[in-house]
Every structure is written in C-alpha cells, then in structure tokens.
C-alpha cells in the first residue's frame, strides 16, 4: 500500500505521512491512556482515572472497525457532505426577524445577573 502511495504523484509528502500514520494506527489499533487523556481534554470532558482504560479499549475497538474503510477505492471520488444531490445552501435576507426574548431563554441558564451569563472569573 505504501509503495502505491509513494509512486502516485498526486499525493503530497504530507498526505503520505498522514496516511502512513493512519495505517500504522490500524496495524496497532490501540489507544494509549495518554491519547485518551489528550482527546478528552480537546473535547472538554473530565473523565476519571478508572474510566481511561475503559475508553481506551472501546475507542480502539471502534477505530479498528472503522479501519475497514481502508479497503475502499476512493481515488477521484468527491466527498459527500450533504445527502441530497444538487442542493445549495439557502440564504435569507440579513434582517432582524426575532424579538427580544432573552428573559425566556435565560430562564434555563445556571447563573445570570443583569441579563448576563455568569461564569467563574476569567481575567484576574
């Protein structure tokens, strides 16, 4: 696989590098605890020490299943983001259509004061 990619001029060096990483990932399919901690940080999720190995195992198993995608021949296949063909993003006129309902919406907020959302102090 790596040889095919290396000889294909349409792939940049960076792509080959990332694809190699990609296939290496599947060769092992093991998420390490530090990777789980890093992903959880990126996703802003606190997870406990005891949960780390559980997620490591299940994410490894999911990524190993997802690894089957490698089998597909996708050269020159346009990625599909929207399930209906030929539709474009609809735009509306840039005008105010909503009335002020902040009190109603803020009724669900954990903490507000003077119509503002409160969070812990960010700037000392």
């Amino acid at each position: 696989m790596a040889r095919t990619l290396a000889t294909d001029a349409t792939y940049s060096k960076a792509t080959v590098y990332h694809l190699t990483l990609f296939f290496l990932q599947f060769a092992e399919c093991v998420m390490k605890p530090e990777q789980i901690a890093s992903i959880a940080h990126l996703a802003r999720l606190s997870i406990s020490e005891t949960e780390v190995p559980v997620y490591a195992e299940s994410l490894s198993s999911i990524l190993s299943m997802v690894g089957d995608l490698e089998r597909a021949q996708t050269q020159d296949v346009a990625p599909m983001a929207h399930p209906l063909p030929g539709l474009t993003q609809r735009l509306r006129a840039d005008e105010v259509t909503e009335t002020d309902q902040h009190e109603r919406y803020q009724a669900n907020a954990p903490e507000t004061a003077a119509s503002l959302y409160l969070v812990p102090k960010v700037i000392e």
């Binding site: 990332h18 198993s61 999911i62 997802v66 089957d68 296949v77 209906l84 669900n108 954990p110």
Partner: protein
C-alpha cells in the same frame, strides 16, 4: 374492538360521530399510560393537563364542524423534540432541568393539526444507542417481553405505540433509530427523505443524517401523520422546498408492474435464518400481489457501518460542543475556573456512550487525522449513495430485513460498543444516502416481532407507504398487540 386498537381513520370517524370526545380519548390513553407506562419506563414526562386542554380545544373545533383527520388524535413526542414550556431532556442528565422555550416545527405543525400531546417518550441519550439502554432515565422495556430491549434510539416511542399507550409517537432516525425499534416492537416506522421533515427544534445529533418521522401501527396511519409533519421550513436550512403530496390518496394502488430489488448483501451470513425465512415469506406475498423480484448488489454497502461511525461521531462532537454549562443545561458544583466548569459540566452531564462518541468524533477530526478518517468516510458515503442510485435505475424499491435478529436481552450487548453498532447494519445505508425507508412487521420470529425494510428513491414516500399499505391489506401482522396490552 377496544378504543386503543383502532386505526387513525377509525378514531377520527368515532370523534366525528360523537361516539367519544377528544377529552374521553385523551383520558383513555392517559389511564393506559398511568397503568403501564412506569413498568415499561416508556415516558420521561406525562403532560396530562396539556393533553386535556388540547383535547378540549379539539372538541370545540370538531363541534364547529371544523378540523382534519388528526384533530383530537393523541400522540407522544420523542423527548428530542422541543416542546414549549415542557421539560425536554433528550434522555440526558445534561438537559434534566431544561424547559424548552419554543416548539420544534414538528411539534407546532402537529399541534396545529389538532393532535393532543400526552407526554414525552424516553430515548437513548441524545439518540445515541440501539437498545434504549443509554438513557439517563434507565432502559425502556419491550412490551412483547420485558426482559428484552425495545430497540433504540426511539425505544420509548416504540414501547408506547406497541403497548397502545398512544396511537402515534414521533421519533427520529440518524442510523436506524425509527426503523430498528419499530421492527423490534412490531410497528410501522417511517424515516422520510432527508429534508422532508423540518429539523428545527429537534435536538441535533448528526445534522447530515438526522431526520424526524413517526411510529404507528399501520402505513395508513403513518401516511396521515406524515401529511401533518412534512413540508418546507425556512427555519431549517436543509429543509427542501418541494410540495407535499397527498399521501393518503396514494394508498391502495395495485402493485402490478412494481420491481422490488432484493439487496444481495443484506441476505448474508449475519442474518438470523429464521429472520430470513420471515422476510422471504413477505416477499412471496409481494410476488402474489403482482410485483417482480430482482436481485441487486450494492458493493460498497458493507462499509456503511464504518463510514457512519466516522461521520456521525464527527458531527456529534461538533453539535454537542454547545453544552458547556453556561447558557443552559447541567452545570457542575463549585467550578474552580472556566476550564473546570466546561470539563466537569460535560463530564458529569453526559453519559458514557455520548462521551465515547464525542471522543471518537474529536479524534477523527483532530489535526493530521481529518483526511484519513473524515474525508475518507465522506468519499465512501458517496460510493454508497452511488450504489443506491444505480440500483434505483433498475428497481422501484429495495427490500430486505430491518435488523439481523429479533429483540435481544437487556444488558446483552452493552459491554462492547461495536457489537451494539452492528444492529444498525441494514438501516444505516438509507441515512448515508438520505433515502426514505420504512419498516413494517412481517411474520414473527420465535414469537417475537420482525421487520421488513423498504427503501425508496428520494421523496418517494407515496410509493413506500402504498407498497406497505397493500401488504398490510393482505396480512394482519401489523394488528398484533402483546397480550398484556390488548
């Protein structure tokens, strides 16, 4: 015949003939919910006061000689649809105290059509699950056997209709969440074409896949409900501007000349042999009705589960970023700083499966992996959509099983996520391609309901409903009710 086993047209006729009022109808179903709802754990909220007010309004409309086929008909909404002034939890601790400030378009439209809301159905947390075991409010039981799962994620909706606690429940389908529980509970469940039903106010999981629909006993009932739900909505940027046909008028067309595609890849070694027998018996009925069977192959369909488990978690990780403990939803106690507030609110507010999917999505979208996972999955998605398009050049509808097996036991598949994900192996393809698909009950498998799946071309709901309806005129599987709920 009991009032709760009547079809929608029978209920509408009864209301018009003053055999019973909408208030009496609502009370009948509220009594059933009080008697059976808690044991099945099918509902998160019961809205009895709202129901009786809406029913009284429906009675006034009917008394004035006004209203339509849905006026006064009770329903339960999946708790993913925002309902103004009513708690909307999405099955999550994150939204345990969330009172929606507005109605979803689906809710507003069905309310406008005179339907009466009885309550909100339990569901897998944020619609992520195939067995309704990920809900913060606990698992839903299958009315056919309380030791079995009802399917998911719309498991509460399925249990409600299967036990005849309401004649209609709304539901949503991202990878099979309407069709799979409909199959496991012996119901008709329709996932319309992507863009046919507005997603406004339907809490987002994976925006390029999510679609609202319904569960009912029959295709005839589903046609009436779809009529009330479908249509263009300027508030949903993916809603399609296209007239809504008269679905009920399309029912009853003969099937002579219909070509049914049998999806070769769905009749594989993973399919329970008894399930295959049941599906093939249903196909034989279609042949007797004049349809022709033709084998079709979708070479890339085998990659639908892997493609889905990149695309759906990626979109989920983006959509669920809005839950940050600031504007609404759960907030942790005594946050040290803003980062701690974000992390602990999300860590404590979301359940394990939701966190797993957010992390999977975060990983596949992270720097250096985007091309290898997300782009690749989107390319495979195109291959699958192309496969369907080619097949629909040869056949009018595609049929196969909805699920590989009938309902499984509570707790049987919770230890390994991938085993759970494979329940959706036959349903995910239609979501990836945006196609309409429905599941109808065919002959039982070991005394449990089984589903026949029918997939159609984009916006071909009329044909799907007709094909299902004509089968239901010939068979009575869709009229079966679990003995405890007759």
């Amino acid at each position: 015949m009991s009032i709760h086993t009547k079809t929608l047209p029978q209920l509408a006729a009864g209301l018009r003939a003053r055999e019973f009022s909408a208030v009496e109808l609502a009370r009948h179903f509220l009594d059933r919910i009080a008697a059976h709802g808690p044991a099945l754990n099918a509902l998160v909220s019961v809205t009895a006061d709202t129901a009786l007010e809406q029913a009284a309004a429906a009675d006034r409309t009917l008394a004035a000689g006004l209203g339509g086929p849905l006026t006064g008909i009770p329903l339960v909404h999946k708790d993913i649809f925002c309902t103004q002034g009513v708690r909307t939890t999405c099955g999550s601790r994150m939204l345990d105290n969330f009172v929606a400030p507005y109605d979803a378009t689906v809710v507003a439209k069905l309310k406008g059509a005179g339907m009466v809301m009885l309550g909100k159905a339990n569901m897998d947390e944020f619609a992520m699950g195939s067995s309704n075991e990920t809900s913060f409010y606990g698992p839903v039981k299958n009315p056919w056997n309380p030791g079995l799962v009802p399917g998911g994620s719309s498991g509460g909706s399925a249990a409600v209709v299967a036990a005849r606690l309401a004649p209609v429940a709304t539901a949503t389908d991202t990878g099979g969440s309407i069709r799979q529980p409909a199959a496991l509970c012996g119901l008709t469940g329709l996932k319309p074409t992507y863009g046919r039903v507005s997603r406004y106010g339907m809490i987002a999981f994976a925006s390029s896949l999510d679609q609202g629909g319904m569960m009912t006993a029959s295709a005839e009932d589903a046609a009436l409900v779809l009529q009330g739900m479908a249509g263009f909505d300027p508030r949903d940027s993916t809603s399609v501007e296209r007239p809504v046909p008269d679905y009920a008028a399309a029912l009853g067309q003969p099937l002579k000349g219909l070509t049914i595609g049998l999806l070769k890849e769905f009749f594989d070694k993973g399919l329970d042999p008894d399930m295959e027998r049941s599906v093939r018996e249903a196909l034989a009925v279609y042949q007797q009705l004049g349809a022709t069977l033709k084998e079709v192959s979708l070479p890339s369909i085998g990659l639908s589960v892997p493609a889905y488990y990149v695309v759906a978690p990626a979109e989920c990780s983006s959509n669920l970023a809005r839950f940050d403990g600031v504007r609404f939803g759960y907030r942790c106690k005594d946050p040290r700083d803003l980062m701690d507030l974000y992390k602990r609110s999300r860590g404590e507010g979301f359940g394990a499966e939701v966190k797993r999917r957010i992390m999977t999505g975060t990983y596949v979208l992270s720097a250096g992996y985007y091309d290898a996972y997300y782009l690749k999955a989107q390319q495979v998605r195109r291959l699958i959509a192309n496969d369907f398009e080619r097949a629909f050049g040869e056949v009018d509808v595609i049929m196969g099983p909805t699920t590989p097996t009938p309902a499984f036991g509570l707790g049987d598949k919770t230890s390994d996520p991938v085993t759970m994900y494979l329940n959706d192996i036959y349903t995910i393809g239609a979501n990836l391609a945006g196609l309409p698909a429905l599941s109808i009950p065919c002959g039982p498998v070991r005394q449990l309901p089984a589903g026949l799946q029918i997939i159609g071309r984009h916006f071909d709901e009329e044909r799907l409903l007709n094909v299902a309806h004509v089968y239901q005129r010939e068979t009575d599987w869709h009229t079966k009710v679990p003995a405890a709920y007759e």
